[in-house]
Point group: C3
Chain length 322, copies 3
């Protein structure tokens, strides 16, 4: 089944949230607008709304990630849902149970949502294709494929600073080849009408035919950053250094690390983003990460609101499932 | 102290839930009837009742088990209790604290219930014998001894399909020798008046004198399954393969694995159960596990309701402890 | 910044809780009095008050400790807060993220409180010096420096038995050199006016210049226990045995282990305390730990109330942060 058929219901509303690829601009905008209404929850004395009270949300993590798991747990609790954290590497999987049996068991317990992180591209799609009608799946990162909630919180943060998407130049810098974040960002940016999306990386870290996604490829950081409004840095997975992809951290920083000096070629009001966790001195200089143009911590704050919005839209409390 | 003196109060009501052996039929029926009233909770939009609000329930797991821990956590949260998960292998036990000191500390924190899983037979009984009057203990599996909540959810599922226990033939198939599930199932079935309970296993996996529990022993699967109404498969612990108990997984499946063809000798409307997690192709063929006669996932669904019922009966909210 | 400037606000009220050193007697008394009002919560049928509903409290543990983590989790849940447990050794720290980046991320998620345990002395102070105005830090033990909530629950238990602090002799026995508990106890006892505070330990386990804290040093257990009202035993970290600090567990017990016979030289109504977990037969005989003078399990019970009090005072629900 195509991902769109899978993640949308007959009325075109979100039923799962697996990928941004193929979603209509209006739907992305609905997510951003809904997230706006949730930003105030985190600022209230009582940071809770009863929207998903009595729902059971399972954080099903096949890859360890404290940060992402924590954000989803926080978002679910602020929506008053009950949360179960399951790290599958330490669970029945080690007893030889298949992925599908684990899933079928959890949905038999009448859980309402699986937030899934998995090392294999396509895992969230696969899972969504096998759950019962009462269960929704949110992709919290699958292999090198997609990390759509991260891209939506990036876009949310971007919109707060640069609301006129139709006039923007955005550069995504780093290991495009292995980055699920970059793929989701590209789809979100192009879908919402950003006319100039650039990817900047060494030749070894650019996927073949990436231009077909509507982006411009740069191998030189200064050339690529010239006059951009937004710089989206990617985290460098240090394990890539082991292989033939990269020479050394020092050389990478020299060529592709974001410094104040390199950032000077961007627009004067350009902002800097990063999905975290940051490798200071590898892909970004500390001064830039902590500097006036950095909106990195705003991204984290918006992450809770955006994930609350997506959870609420997908479960649509009060609306009966067909 | 005898287990019955321990798990029942002066009025004969459940105070702990340690084993099915020795419980009266009326009490088992009360558990099943109470669980019926909780099945609707999992189907509501708000899957929560305020019955145990403000109670503190501790999942005290000396053996890892994501599945069982998750079911109890879910049941407790649907009853609105607060849940603490404690995996003892990674806790103070490693600092040399004794089991009793760990327990006494937790009950000094005014916890109301310990859900205990332990690798040693008798551990739950031992713990129940040492807790304060305000604390209840539920046995979530102790060594090869008992797994009474599993047996109750099996019986609950069975009753939904075959309510006339007085006319049933039930076969339990697999490693009877090491199975805490089988022991609890046998006690539950015979207590509730099932006249024909059979155990089917190779000679090496049948405990001596099992007939004294009121069951019939078969070593041939086809002979044992003949005309039964219910097949309760057991999980094969693969580590048993290491020892002298079993020749090989392939040979085990050939002799004792449940296939459609072997199942054909059972009654036409026979149902198939399994406590999970399933070893497909070892003790059960995939086609049977997923087939029309399988009620395996219904067992999981009922597991939440049955555990809610047992928790509620044991804590008896609103009734003062003597 | 000095710790007092850090942990108190302009009105002299608690903003963090890092150390007892330097706090005024009135403030310690306020904590004890507030804890009194919370003791009833643990005895109610519904062990919950809505005081911190909608607050997000993060247990940020850089050192594993099931017991301390559990007590704080319990206290937070009884105040109706949402709790996130983060064990940092298994989190982003392993991805090379700095401590400050981890902190900044968590506070960007609009968490209200970090309960911090860390192996390095000064860690809680460091963290409190870097959090945003909306975040409070509670020190749950930092290296050999301080464990102030433990000392407050000790004082709370002490006051229940011996309310006239001005007339007391208190002996602290064990590894004073490495004990964060002992340091906090000494500050609490002297601040609240206990005139005779003694520390008893072998020469290798007494810090230089400890007398400047206002205590009397004893190397002989019987001499030190003579006529005391209270004996506060410390846990012996067994790893100390590896080094040159101590000869053997057996010899330690012979010289410094608390037995009924040695306790006989204390006042007839002397009480015995221990922060747990106990090493039976190493620093304390089982008969003493479980005996009539032991208030060890009362300490655990009071731990929940005292931690609730400190959390509530630090967050001051209803009072706007400047």
């Amino acid at each position: 089944m195509s991902t769109q058929t899978l993640q949308l219901d007959a009325q075109g509303r979100l039923r799962h949230f697996l990928t941004i690829e193929g979603l209509k601009p209006a739907l992305l905008t609905e997510i951003l607008d809904t997230a706006e209404s949730f930003t105030s929850v985190g600022e209230q004395t009582v940071k809770k709304v009863p929207l998903l009270r009595g729902k059971t949300i399972v954080n099903l993590f096949f890859e360890p990630s404290t940060r992402t798991r924590t954000t989803f747990e926080l978002a679910a609790k602020r929506l008053s849902a009950d949360v179960l954290n399951i790290a599958v590497s330490t669970s029945s999987a080690s007893k030889g149970e298949s992925l599908l049996d684990t899933l079928h068991n959890l949905q038999a317990m009448q859980c309402d949502m699986f937030v899934v992180r998995h090392g294999a591209s396509g895992a969230a799609h696969f899972i969504a294709g096998h759950v019962a009608p009462h269960v929704s799946v949110i992709n919290a990162g699958d292999g090198c494929h997609a990390h759509p909630t991260q891209a939506m919180l990036d876009l949310f943060t971007l919109r707060r600073h640069k609301p006129d998407f139709g006039a923007l130049s955005v550069a995504i810098v780093g290991d495009i080849l292995h980055s699920r974040v970059a793929r989701s960002q590209i789809h979100a940016l192009t879908t919402l009408g950003v006319p100039d999306v650039r990817v900047i990386a060494p030749r070894t870290l650019i996927p073949k035919d990436i231009e077909t996604l509507g982006v411009h490829v740069y191998h030189d950081l200064r050339a690529g950053l010239c006059d951009v409004d937004v710089v989206m840095m990617l985290r460098l997975q240090r394990e890539r250094m082991q292989g033939a992809f990269l020479p050394s951290e020092r050389e990478y920083f020299y060529l592709y690390g974001l410094t104040e000096e390199k950032l000077a070629v961007a627009k004067p009001d350009a902002i800097v983003m990063h999905p975290g966790p940051i490798n200071r001195g590898v892909e970004i200089a500390s001064g830039v990460a902590d500097g006036a143009r950095s909106v990195i911590l705003q991204q984290v704050t918006h992450g809770a609101a955006v994930r609350m919005a997506i959870m609420a839209l997908v479960l649509r409390p009060g609306v009966e499932r067909e």
